[in-house]
């Protein structure tokens, strides 16, 4: 147990898993000598040497493909895609190869690999370095998708991802790398993929969050004293239907908060599943708080507006809790977007 930043929690999890299992290797751009662009692999080169901690050329397709082959033949590679956008040039290896090997080989060839990538807006990096893109991968059977929301979950989930027998896409909100928290290490700190956690208990609505939206929603709830139950999903594929469903049966209402654009978001999946399974318990229409359907703008205020902000979350939840009516998102108001 100790206080650490999220990037340190990630480095700690990597180091522990590498100690535990000699087939775990780490590859990526500037991950070895420099300790990672976000300092998520600091100390690994020193402890494990260049055979297991590899700086790659700027070749995401090359090293992600290599990870697939290495995983198929017994290694457990963890690759780092610096910004999730760069997964664009490596998507074939992940979606079309890694996700299909087990299926095609009738279970004989698996791909126990982890693709780590930083995600999210809020740092003023502009539209090619600010997306979350979890929806790209969540729709591919054969891939698992996890997304921590703080140092503890980064530690516990990453370890679970590395131990998992299947390819896991591990999406790290980059705005949280520097955030600090207590981390329980060792077996007690381990989390399970596919298991959500209740981040705040409450009775008037179930609010499902993922990654960055968890702390934003928690802050919103505290600030406005909202009686909501926050469920931090942690895993998107598979997601914890049981926990969400049980909560909705208690609260009677469901809201999903996503950082990604509105159309095509995973929140719709959650709402449709829960509506089917808990229809009788719902006393209001479920809805989603999302980003609008636009690329992430650069300018500070516009970017702050883009991400579902704390104040926007408060505004929408307060209105919903009082009226039971799905509120208007900010961008459909005052003729902002026509």
């Amino acid at each position: 147990m100790g206080s650490m930043r999220m990037n340190q929690a990630i480095a700690t999890a990597l180091a522990e898993e590498m100690r535990e299992n000699s087939s775990v290797i780490v590859m990526g751009e500037d991950v070895a000598d420099a300790g990672g662009p976000f300092k998520t692999s600091e100390g690994l080169l020193k402890e494990f040497g260049p055979k297991r901690v590899r700086d790659t050329p700027i070749s995401e397709m090359g090293f992600t493909g290599a990870a697939v082959g290495a995983a198929a033949l017994g290694l457990r590679p963890v690759v780092e895609i610096m910004f999730v956008e760069f997964l664009g040039v490596a998507l074939d290896a992940v979606v079309t190869e890694a996700a299909k090997f087990r299926y095609l080989s009738q279970g004989q060839v698996s791909c126990p690999m982890v693709v780590r990538a930083s995600i999210g807006s809020g740092l003023g990096f502009g539209c090619q370095h600010s997306q979350t893109l979890e929806n790209w991968v969540a729709a591919t059977p054969g891939l698992k998708v996890a997304c921590p929301s703080d140092p503890q979950s980064a530690y516990g989930l990453l370890k679970a991802a590395i131990r998992d027998p299947d390819p896991v896409i591990f999406l790290e909100p980059r705005a949280l790398y520097a955030s600090r928290g207590e981390v329980v290490t060792g077996p007690d700190g381990l989390l399970e993929l596919g298991r959500a956690r209740i981040a705040r208990e409450g009775t008037k609505a179930t609010v499902v969050t993922l990654g960055r939206t968890t702390s934003l929603t928690r802050a919103a709830a505290q600030q406005a004293n909202l009686d909501i139950e926050i469920i931090d999903l942690l895993s998107l594929v598979p997601w914890d239907v049981k926990t969400v469903c049980a909560s909705v049966k208690r609260t009677g209402r469901l809201v999903v908060i996503e950082e990604a654009p509105h159309s095509g978001g995973w929140g719709s999946e959650i709402i449709s599943t829960i509506t089917a399974q808990a229809f009788a318990s719902l006393d209001a229409a479920p809805f989603r708080i999302t980003a609008p359907d636009v690329p992430v703008p650069y300018q500070r205020d516009l970017e702050a507006l883009y991400l579902p902000s704390e104040s926007e979350i408060v505004r929408q939840l307060e209105s919903y809790l009082v009226t039971g009516v799905v509120p208007q998102p900010w961008w459909t108001q005052e003729g902002i977007a026509r």
Binding site: E29, A34, G62, Y298, Q299, R300, L302, T332, I336
Partner: protein
């Protein structure tokens, strides 16, 4: 000691213009650095100090209606191609008067009016896109050429190889400009590449390539004139490898632990500004006055750009929604209804 820049065949006016451009790019970056440290600019910046001769030499040899593609490090390319300091600075401030209206930021400077698509911040992203620009020029028989800037690090991306082969086999009017500054972020090129001469690597695609002193705007300009001529006359693409160095870190907050201060000092002796000034004065000491005047004019231009950016209005929220599509944006109806 560095070799002096050779001004043979370069008239006085051109020499002074090259000097002016190199200094404009440098002073812009120095100012941006200060503003960053002061916290006036959000995000991050990838700076161009040291590499100015490349953008300046290349853009001097391009026609006004030729196009360029750029990278995550676009400030120098943009200003050299004709984006005003005002429009560039305002963009860094996220202002509505910026060249992307405040929606792009440092990594996406560009302006179609000067022949520059918004910079592409995905390494090697421009290398495949530029093929299509060349294809358009060829089909339109326009006589234009597209120049594609990228760093040596980009040559290890698949897009680089696919893009080069495509445009070679289609004989497209493109000049690839590889700015070899020895490092891709924190990693030295020779540690990730067994054939670190880019000119050697592209021979495999049948693309003629020349290596040039990327700290010398006159030499870069001459190489670019030759390459542009080659590309424009239907012989297909050509590549220039400019050997250069970035004086600053890769991006904000890079402590440059991966390279020695001695190496940095050696390259700083090749500073294109000092060398250009020395060459001009060696030819005619009386140009001291012209140089002083240019320096002063640039300070005025720069102060004006910063003032303009500071005073400019912020984009309003409606702007985030314009230009996602050609047509007005269809909002999915997410507003609820009472049962």
């Amino acid at each position: 000691m560095s070799t002096p820049i050779d001004l043979t065949g370069v008239d006085r006016e051109t020499a002074l213009r090259l000097y002016r451009q190199v200094v404009r790019l440098r002073r812009f970056e120095d100012k941006v650095y200060q503003l960053f440290l002061k916290g006036e600019l959000p995000g991050t910046v990838h700076q161009y100090q040291g590499q100015e001769a490349v953008a300046v030499g290349v853009c001097e040899a391009l026609a006004a209606d030729d196009w360029i593609t750029s990278t995550h490090r676009p400030h120098g390319h943009a200003i050299a191609k004709g984006v005003s300091m005002r429009a560039a600075m305002a963009e860094l401030y996220g202002k509505a008067t910026g060249c992307c209206g405040g929606k792009g930021g440092s990594m996406h400077l560009g302006d179609p009016d000067v022949g520059m698509v918004p910079a592409i911040a995905i390494v090697a992203g421009g290398v495949s896109v530029v093929s299509g620009m060349g294809l358009a020029f060829k089909l339109q028989k326009s006589g234009q050429v597209a120049a594609c800037f990228f760093g040596e690090g980009a040559t290890n991306e698949g897009a680089f190889h696919e893009g080069l082969n495509f445009s070679a086999v289609q004989k497209l009017p493109i000049v690839y400009v590889c700015e070899n500054n020895l490092y891709g972020a924190s990693t030295a090129y020779h540690l990730t590449t067994l054939v670190p001469e880019v000119t050697e690597r592209v021979k495999a695609y049948g693309i003629p390539a020349i290596s040039v002193d990327g700290m010398d705007p006159v030499a870069v300009r001459a190489a670019m004139q030759q390459a542009r001529e080659h590309a424009a006359s239907g012989h297909g693409p050509m590549l220039i490898e400019a050997k250069t160095y970035r004086f600053a870190g890769h991006s904000r907050g890079d402590a440059r632990k991966y390279r020695g201060r001695e190496e940095e000092d050696t390259w700083k002796e090749l500073d294109p500004i000092t060398r250009m000034r020395d060459a001009i004065l060696a030819r005619d000491p009386a140009d001291e006055q012209a140089i002083t005047q240019i320096d002063a004019e640039i300070e005025t231009e720069l102060d004006d750009a910063v003032e303009f950016a500071r005073q400019s209005p912020l984009p309003d929220a409606t702007l985030a929604f314009t230009d996602v599509y050609a047509d007005p944006f269809p909002i999915p109806s997410v507003v609820g209804e009472r049962s």
